[in-house]
Symmetry: C2
Subunit: 279 residues, 2 copies
Amino acid sequence: MRLASVRTPDGGAQAAVLDGESWRGLPAEDLSQLFRLPDWRAAAAEPGDALPRAEPVNPVPSPGKVICCGLNYAEHIAELGRELPKFPTLFAKFADTLTGPSDEIALPADVDVDWEAELAVVVGRRLRGACEREAREAIAGYTVANDISVRDWQARTLQWFQGKAWDRTTPVGPVVVTPDELDPEAGVEVTCEVNGQRMQQGNTRTLVFGASALLAYISEFTVLRPGDLVLTGTPGGVGLGMTPPRFLRDGEVVRTSVDGIGTLQNTIRTQPTDRGEHS
Amino acid sequence: MRLASVRTPDGGAQAAVLDGESWRGLPAEDLSQLFRLPDWRAAAAEPGDALPRAEPVNPVPSPGKVICCGLNYAEHIAELGRELPKFPTLFAKFADTLTGPSDEIALPADVDVDWEAELAVVVGRRLRGACEREAREAIAGYTVANDISVRDWQARTLQWFQGKAWDRTTPVGPVVVTPDELDPEAGVEVTCEVNGQRMQQGNTRTLVFGASALLAYISEFTVLRPGDLVLTGTPGGVGLGMTPPRFLRDGEVVRTSVDGIGTLQNTIRTQPTDRGEHS
């Protein structure tokens, strides 16, 4: 199944499932709500009427947890001059950090903005102390994300969080594809283009920690619930790794794709700041 | 005012305000709900009936954001061999990470558990792009927390998060004291005892980044909302800083106090793990 949260021309919002070329309504306002239903798979199997001209928005707007893995593609790790990790490097974002698949991304003009194309995993069932098999069975589906990062703030201290949690900077979507239709462990391509130029390309088969391994690892210390989101890390080719570093400017367009899921297209909008008065 | 979330003998839960020696009920299930009321200060000024034998639990069980500052007391920074920071070191926890002021803290037997007594700030008004004056006016009150840390997991990667976000390990409470009754910038003592032995002592006057500065800084990148929680960092004297390092064992009792607020008392309970099967 290909699932989405859609905006309808009358201004409504609804969870939906793709049926041929058209979206059909599901009994929830969005996929965050749908995945919290006791049997969302059964609900998704009996969709309602077609929703003409429905437009995908952020599929999972209200995850309780958004957990990200850094340094998870072998070639990106090499690009940063680090060794292959024994444990996943994890950090958190908020639901507020997320934005839609075609939304503009607004940031101050005086920060260093970079791209990080990622496969994201949506949790479909409660997990705590899970083994990898349990974790695999708990995956609701996969979506595309871009962990847009404010590199100068990320580097201000040892902890990346303050460069990773800017409101409405991580686009997600356009759809969530269920595991029966997509197997990232067999390998799907993850790419990022800036203004039409290919910057990143990696294959999920080369992830050090795959989706199920990440969910199982996280569930050792905290519960995961339906609708929670886990970002699996980015392949080589980020702007920070270039000589000199290459950051995003006002009006530049970032296209983030995962084969078999779809493409995010987001324009960067930078705004002058009056930070001087406030610091 | 001294505010709390209390459990009543009939099993109910309620926000409450201290009136002399007795708790009186407020129109919300807990302080997280109370602070989301449009005018919670007016509601708190007109309390209901006395609640005999009410017992404080976690005052803010459902913050949307829990953000922590590390390396914020000059002497703790020296203990770890670091320089005074120009920017606050920030990381996130979850609402799930929190627990009550007298709850047991359950952790696996094979991890390195340490204490970090902290002053915590509860947000009382929406903040985004705030200056320090606006941030100061948005503080609902102050409470006590202990950022109990799993040091070996914290040190597994560059990011501390996975050692800081274990479910139900950060005790909070017992009360929230409003700013008219407590001024941490003028200085209050923060202490931690383990089995009755004083381990940590620091004064909030020596914080590198005070409560208002932290809230203003965070609000540059993400919105803060009523009920959100910010932990301000810990003074010197953690177990990791000792030679050899000293970690918490089953049955040990951690008492965490902030003068003018109150004391948390939490017993550590360690449990054998079957991690071998799952990894």
